[in-house]
């Protein structure tokens, strides 16, 4: 069973990686709120939030290749929307604003995900008040995804070894995949119960859950900076 690459990615050693998930989550939510409500959005806003994103990226010490690859996943979608806006309204400025605004938002989201393992992120969300049920479901989906991917890879391997794999035949295989994944997930769930799983994912790293000065500085500093920038320069 293979974990998603992002889970490996999120285990770097930068100061941001070591921060409490709640602090990072709060900071990013704050940024997104400010980005979403910045009116007007002209180049000063773009430059300001863009450089904040750059600073976060540098602080997280992420690989540029990895970052750009993830950014490129959303780029086609946002670019299409921007293009449509441009074509339908003829307003290039508005299209550019749309593009830069969403890219900045996505950049922050990538930094958050890249510096926080998924289960820490979800636990953080729960501690910040997200509904427990929602978090539990998200955690299960996150785990189950690995099972599904892994099972699909195994089945493709088995199909190849028996004379080739065609995606056209894959539709029929999908049902078998879901069934075998379900059985596998049941066994995994049994193994979890056998070791006393109670519904919440345990967290080993002592840093998680211990809020320190640095976390306050991150969450508070972000909010304060953005508030001042908004009040003083309407950013």
């Amino acid at each position: 069973m293979r974990h998603l690459e992002s889970d490996q990615w999120s285990r770097g050693g930068s100061a941001l990686h070591r921060c409490d998930a709640r602090a990072k989550l709060a900071a990013v939510l704050t940024v997104l709120a400010f980005v979403g409500t910045a009116r007007p959005w002209h180049w000063p806003q773009g430059v300001f939030y863009g450089s904040l994103a750059l600073a976060a990226l540098l602080a997280a010490q992420l690989s540029w290749a990895g970052f750009l690859r993830r950014l490129s996943v959303v780029l086609p979608v946002t670019a299409t929307f921007a293009l449509l806006t441009w074509l339908s309204t003829g307003d290039a400025g508005r299209a550019g604003a749309l593009l830069s605004r969403s890219l900045v938002s996505v950049a922050f989201a990538i930094v958050l995900i890249a510096t926080t393992p998924a289960h820490a992120l979800l636990t953080g969300a729960e501690r910040l008040g997200a509904p427990r049920m929602l978090v539990a479901v998200a955690q299960m989906v996150h785990r189950y995804l690995f099972v599904l991917i892994d099972q699909a890879l195994r089945m493709r391997q088995a199909a190849r070894s028996r004379g080739g794999f065609r995606w056209s035949a894959a539709a029929g295989a999908a049902a078998a995949l879901l069934l075998s994944s379900e059985q596998r997930a049941t066994r995994i769930h049994q193994a979890m119960l056998a070791r006393g799983f109670t519904g919440t994912w345990p967290e080993l790293s002592a840093a998680a859950g211990r809020w320190n000065v640095f976390d306050s500085a991150l969450a508070g500093g972000t909010a304060l900076t953005l508030l001042l920038a908004r009040l003083l320069w309407r950013l």
Partner: protein, 234 residues
């Protein structure tokens, strides 16, 4: 001395109607190592799954360390029974080896620092501490098996349950596992198709046939009586 595991007339039928257990009577005392032999589909795995309440018998009684199998005792029973599943891939689900070894301890409510200490000790016990930071999915079959065992040993169970632990292990790895099990003081219930492995690890054996235990004795006796050494299935 009271038996660690005591089963009387245990019967289980799967939801699809398969009668997998038809009255199991068995007692296992502390420190004993019991081998479960029997053909494919005889009910060994089904029986083992009852020991920590993952399956619940429709008829019969089961006590573990004096605790009757019932919902109120489940947590206490699971703390006493360490279960190593046949497919280690199903058992290793945390992102790193160390986190996986600590999973059960954290569920028990141990402090993270405490859990880490115990998990590291268990990994050292199975000679896998060097891999603590690695992803379990990148390990070899034998290494996975040992990490799975560590995750169970870390919880310091009184009883170890291993379902076909030699699956996907090469002979040296099987040998190493038998040696390791021999050093562990816990009582063991081991289902296996491997007569040699059973002889190396067991003090006693029972033979399963179509949901019943049809014979018991020393491992050698059982292997001889049922012709298990020449068994085609491995």
């Amino acid at each position: 001395m009271a038996a660690l595991v005591e089963a009387h007339g245990l019967a289980y039928r799967y939801p699809d109607g398969t009668e997998a257990l038809r009255g199991i009577d068995l007692a296992v005392s502390a420190g004993e190592s019991l081998i479960l032999f029997g053909a494919n589909g005889a009910g060994k795995s089904t029986f083992l799954l009852h020991l920590n309440g993952l399956l619940r018998a429709a008829r019969g009684t089961l006590t573990v360390d004096g605790l009757p199998m019932k919902t109120a005792n489940l947590a206490a029973i699971r703390q006493r029974v360490g279960f190593v599943f046949q497919d280690a891939d199903d058992q290793l689900f945390m992102p790193t080896v160390l986190e996986d070894a600590a999973f059960g301890l954290l569920n028990q409510g141990l402090e993270p620092s405490e859990a880490r200490r115990h998990a590291e000790a268990a990994l050292a016990q199975v000679d896998m501490l060097h891999a603590a930071g690695r992803a379990p999915y990148h390990l070899s079959g034998g290494e996975k098996r040992r990490v799975a065992l560590a995750g169970v040993l870390a919880m310091q169970p009184k009883l170890l349950v291993l379902d076909e632990p030699t699956t996907s292990l090469d002979p040296p790895a099987q040998h190493k596992l038998a040696e390791l099990l021999g050093r562990l003081p816990q009582a063991k219930l081991i289902s296996t198709h491997d007569a040699a492995f059973g002889q190396a690890t067991g003090s006693r054996a029972v033979f399963f046939e179509r949901g019943k235990i049809v014979g018991g004795g020393t491992v050698e006796e059982i292997v001889r009586r049922y012709g298990w050494a020449a068994s085609p299935e491995r």
